[in-house]
C-alpha cells in the first residue's frame, strides 16, 4: 500500500485539487475499513464521545447568560492546563462526531444565551460546531486560541487546519484569534487578522508541598522530553553528565535515551512512563534544578510549574517568559544545542538559586496581573 501511495504521489501536485480529492477518498475508504474491522470499538468510542457531548451540554447550562465560555479538549494536557490556567468559564469537550452531537453542542450554546464562544485550539468536529453556532445565531462571537507557532506548519495536519481556520475567518465565521506567544500575535496581526495576545499561566496552590530530602547528589530533572525531536533530550542528558556529582531524574524515559544514559555513565532515577501531573509536581520538588532546553515553544507550562514548586528551571529562548529581566539572564538559554554551555548555566543557576527564586516570586506577581488583563482584553474584544 505504501508503494502504491508513493507511486501515485510522484504524479500529482502536493496540496493540489487532485491530491486533496484522492486524500479524501483514501480517508473515507480507510475509515470504512476501520469501522468494519473494529466495529465494536468504534461503537464504544462513539458512545464515549456522545457521553462527553452530553456532559458538555450540562456544563453549558451552568454558564447560562455568561459573556463567554471556553471549549478545551481535556485529553490534550498542555492545551488543557493552559486553558485552565487562564479562564474561569471552561467546558471540557473532546472530539464531536455526527450531526446530532454537533447540533446538540451548538444548540446548547445558543439556548443558554452565551455571548461568545472561545475554542482553545481546534479539535475534530469543532469546526462544524463553530459553523452551526454561527448559523443558529450570527451575533454570537466565535474566537479561536491557536496554541502552535509557525514551526508546526511542517505537519500536514496543522497546516491544513490553519488554512481551514484562516478561511473561516475570511468567511466571517471566526471573529478573532488569540495566540500564546507575542511573535505569533504580531505575525498574524501583520497578515491581517484580528488578533489578541495571551500568556500561559499556572496556579498550583492545590499541589502538596513536600520537604526536600537531604542528598549528596545534585539532582536535575528532565520531563516530558522524549516525545519529539524538539525536546532535545540527548543534549540535556549530556549536559547533566558534565555537572559534577549529578544524578538525572527523567520522566518519562524511553529505551534509546536509557541506552544513552548507560553510554554516558549517568546515574538516573527515571520512570519509563508518563505519571499524573500532581505526582510529577510532587516529585520534582526533590530536584536542585530542572532543565527544559527545547528548540521552539509558545508558552511552555513546565518551567512555570517547576518554579511554582520552588525549583528553578532553565528554558530555551523561545517564548515570552522572563524576557528582558534579571531572572531571564539567569534562566534563559540561548545555545540549546551545546551541552557544555548548558552545564555552565546549570551550575550558575544552582549557585544563585535563592536569588533566582526571589526574582521569580516578584515576577510572578506582575505576570498574574498581566495575564488577567490580556484575558480580559480578549474576552471583551
Amino acid at each position: 500500500m505504501q508503494k502504491l501511495k508513493n507511486f501515485v504521489k510522484r504524479f500529482i501536485k502536493k496540496d493540489g485539487f487532485l491530491y486533496r480529492v484522492i486524500k479524501k477518498i483514501y480517508h473515507i475508504l480507510s475509515s470504512l475499513k476501520y469501522r468494519i474491522v473494529n466495529g465494536k470499538n468504534v461503537r464504544e468510542q462513539n458512545k464515549h464521545y456522545t457521553e462527553q457531548v452530553d456532559l458538555a451540554v450540562k456544563k453549558l447550562e451552568e454558564y447560562k447568560d455568561k459573556d463567554y465560555i471556553v471549549f478545551y479538549n481535556p485529553t490534550w494536557l498542555g492545551v488543557a492546563n493552559s486553558t485552565k490556567g487562564l479562564f474561569k468559564n471552561i467546558v471540557p469537550l473532546e472530539q464531536v462526531f455526527g450531526k446530532k452531537n454537533i447540533n446538540k453542542v451548538a444548540e446548547a450554546v445558543v439556548n443558554n444565551n452565551i455571548k461568545s464562544v472561545i475554542f482553545s485550539q481546534i479539535v475534530d468536529g469543532w469546526v462544524d460546531v463553530l459553523k452551526k453556532i454561527k448559523e443558529l445565531n450570527n451575533n454570537i462571537k466565535t474566537k479561536v486560541i491557536w496554541h502552535g507557532n509557525c514551526y508546526e506548519f511542517f505537519s500536514d495536519y496543522t497546516w491544513n487546519l490553519n488554512k481551514d481556520v484562516m478561511n473561516l475567518y475570511k468567511e466571517g465565521k471566526i471573529d478573532s484569534f488569540a495566540f500564546v506567544r507575542s511573535i505569533m500575535y504580531e505575525f498574524y496581526k501583520k497578515v491581517g487578522f484580528k488578533s489578541f495576545q495571551l500568556q500561559n499561566n499556572v496556579h498550583l496552590d492545590n499541589i502538596k508541598r513536600v520537604e526536600k530530602k537531604k542528598s549528596d547528589k545534585v539532582k536535575i530533572g528532565i520531563y516530558n522530553a522524549d516525545s519529539r525531536e524538539l525536546k532535545n533530550i540527548y543534549t540535556s542528558l549530556s549536559a547533566i553528565k558534565l555537572v559534577p556529582n549529578s544524578i538525572a531524574d527523567v520522566v518519562p524515559i524511553n529505551e534509546s535515551a536509557k541506552k544513552f544514559t548507560e553510554i554516558l555513565g549517568l546515574e538516573t532515577t527515571s520512570v519509563d512512563d508518563y505519571i499524573p501531573t500532581e505526582e510529577l509536581l510532587e516529585r520534582i520538588q526533590q530536584n536542585e534544578v530542572n532543565i527544559y532546553p527545547t528548540f521552539t515553544e509558545n508558552g511552555p507550562m513546565f518551567p512555570l510549574e517547576s518554579f511554582e514548586m520552588g525549583v528553578p528551571c532553565l528554558l530555551g529562548n523561545n517564548n515570552d517568559f522572563f524576557v528582558g529581566t534579571k531572572l531571564g539572564e539567569y534562566v534563559i538559554l540561548t545555545k540549546e544545542d551545546d551541552p557544555e554551555y548548558i552545564k555552565e548555566r546549570i551550575i550558575n543557576c544552582i549557585e544563585h538559586k535563592d536569588e533566582i527564586m526571589a526574582l521569580y516570586r516578584e515576577w510572578k506577581k506582575e505576570f498574574d496581573i498581566k495575564c488577567s488583563k490580556l484575558v480580559e482584553e480578549f474576552i471583551q474584544g
Binding site: 524538539l230 543534549t235 528548540f295 529562548n317
Partner: protein
C-alpha cells in the same frame, strides 16, 4: 605532516562542501551494507593504501562503514572519524545507531581519534575518556570563484536556503521574517511546495529559487543575489551557506549554533541570533546588520584571516595526532 586520505559519503552533501574545502586529499565512497558497496569502498581504500597513506579519515560515520574500519585496522593503519552528528540529532534512529556504533569502535580501540566540530560535544566525550579532538570547521573561497554581488536597489532581498526539508532547519519561522521586515523579498530554496503555499497564504513577497544540486557553485550563484542571507537552523556543526555568503561579501546571519565568534563582540552582535525561532528579533538583527554592513564585513575579513590560521593549525594537529 602524516599522509592521509579523507573518505566521505553522499548522504550529507552540504557537509561535504566544507569538508572537501578543509582537506585536500579526499575521495567519495558509498554507504550501505551490500557486498557491492563494501567491495567498491575496499577497492578505493586499497588504492589509497598502496600510495602509502598512513591514516584513513572518515567524514561522518555512515551505515556499513564499521566493516571498513575492521578492514583498515587489520592492515595496521590509523583510523580517524570526524563526527557528522551531535547529541541534538540523536533522536533519529539512523544517527543514533551509527553514532553509538562509532563509540563502540572507539572503545574497542579500532578508531584512533574522533573529531567533534563543536566544543561542547568534544567536552562531553573527552570527559567520558574517549580519544577525541575538537576540529574547527572552515571554508576558504577560491579567489576565482569570487562573483559580483547584488547592488542595493531599495528592496531588501533576503536569501533563505535551507538544504534539507527537516525539522532542524526551522524553515517556517525563517520564512516569517519576510513578513516582519518591511520592503523585503524572500528568495528561497523551495524544498517543498508547502513553503510556497505558506508564503502565498501569508502574503509574503517572495520568489522560489531551487537548488538542484547541493554544491559550492550553485550556492554561490544563489547567495550573491541577495542583500543578506539567513541560515537559522536550530542545531548545526557545519555552516556552508554562512561561509559561502560571507566569503562572497554578502552578510549572513546564523543561529547560535557554532563556536565561531566566541569572544568577537561585533560579529556576535550583528551575525548571531540568540533566538532562532523569533522572526521579530531576527528581522531587527537583519536591519542592524545591514545598517552596519561595512563594519560587519570588515570585521569578518579581519576575523577570518586570523581564523584561517588558527583553523589550519588545529586541522594539522588533528592530522598529526
Amino acid at each position: 605532516m602524516e599522509k592521509y586520505i579523507l573518505l566521505y559519503g553522499d548522504k550529507k552533501p552540504e557537509d561535504n562542501i566544507c569538508i572537501t574545502n578543509m582537506f585536500e586529499n579526499t575521495r567519495q565512497i558509498n554507504l550501505g551494507w551490500t557486498d557491492f558497496d563494501y567491495n567498491h569502498n575496499v577497492k578505493i581504500i586499497d588504492e589509497e593504501i598502496e600510495k602509502g597513506d598512513t591514516q584513513v579519515i572518515f567524514s561522518g560515520f555512515e551505515i556499513g562503514w564499521d566493516k571498513l574500519v575492521d578492514y583498515i585496522k587489520e592492515k595496521n593503519i590509523k583510523v580517524k572519524v570526524i563526527s557528522n552528528t551531535q547529541d541534538s540529532l540523536l533522536y533519529y534512529e539512523y544517527e543514533r545507531n551509527n553514532f553509538f556504533r562509532l563509540l563502540e569502535l572507539s572503545k574497542e580501540g579500532k578508531v584512533d581519534d574522533m573529531a567533534f566540530l563543536r566544543k561542547g560535544e568534544y567536552e562531553v566525550y573527552k570527559s567520558l575518556g574517549y580519544k577525541c579532538s575538537y576540529l574547527m570547521e572552515n571554508y576558504i573561497l577560491d579567489s576565482n570563484k569570487k562573483k559580483e554581488v547584488k547592488k542595493e536597489n531599495g528592496t531588501i532581498d533576503i536569501g533563505i536556503y535551507p538544504l534539507n526539508y527537516t525539522w532542524d532547519k526551522n524553515i517556517f519561522n525563517q520564512l516569517c521574517i519576510g513578513k516582519m521586515l518591511d520592503n523585503s523579498n524572500v528568495n528561497y530554496n523551495e524544498l517543498d511546495e508547502r513553503m510556497t503555499d505558506f508564503l502565498t497564504t501569508m502574503n509574503i513577497e517572495s520568489k522560489p529559487d531551487k537548488i538542484e544540486n547541493i554544491n559550492e557553485d550553485e550556492i554561490i550563484n544563489k547567495v550573491i543575489k541577495n542583500d543578506i542571507n539567513v541560515s537559522l537552523s536550530f542545531t548545526e556543526y557545519f555552516h556552508p551557506v554562512f561561509f559561502i555568503s560571507m566569503e562572497q561579501g554578502v552578510p549572513c546571519i546564523i543561529g547560535n549554533t557554532s563556536d565561531l565568534f566566541d569572544g568577537n563582540e561585533i560579529l556576535d552582535k550583528y551575525i548571531v541570533t540568540k533566538a532562532e525561532d523569533n522572526p521579530i528579533i531576527n528581522s531587527k538583527l537583519i536591519e542592524d546588520c545591514l545598517k552596519n554592513r561595512q563594519v560587519v564585513m570588515e570585521e569578518y575579513r579581519k576575523w577570518k584571516n586570523e581564523y584561517n590560521k588558527v583553523a589550519e593549525e588545529n586541522r594539522n594537529k588533528f592530522l598529526e595526532k
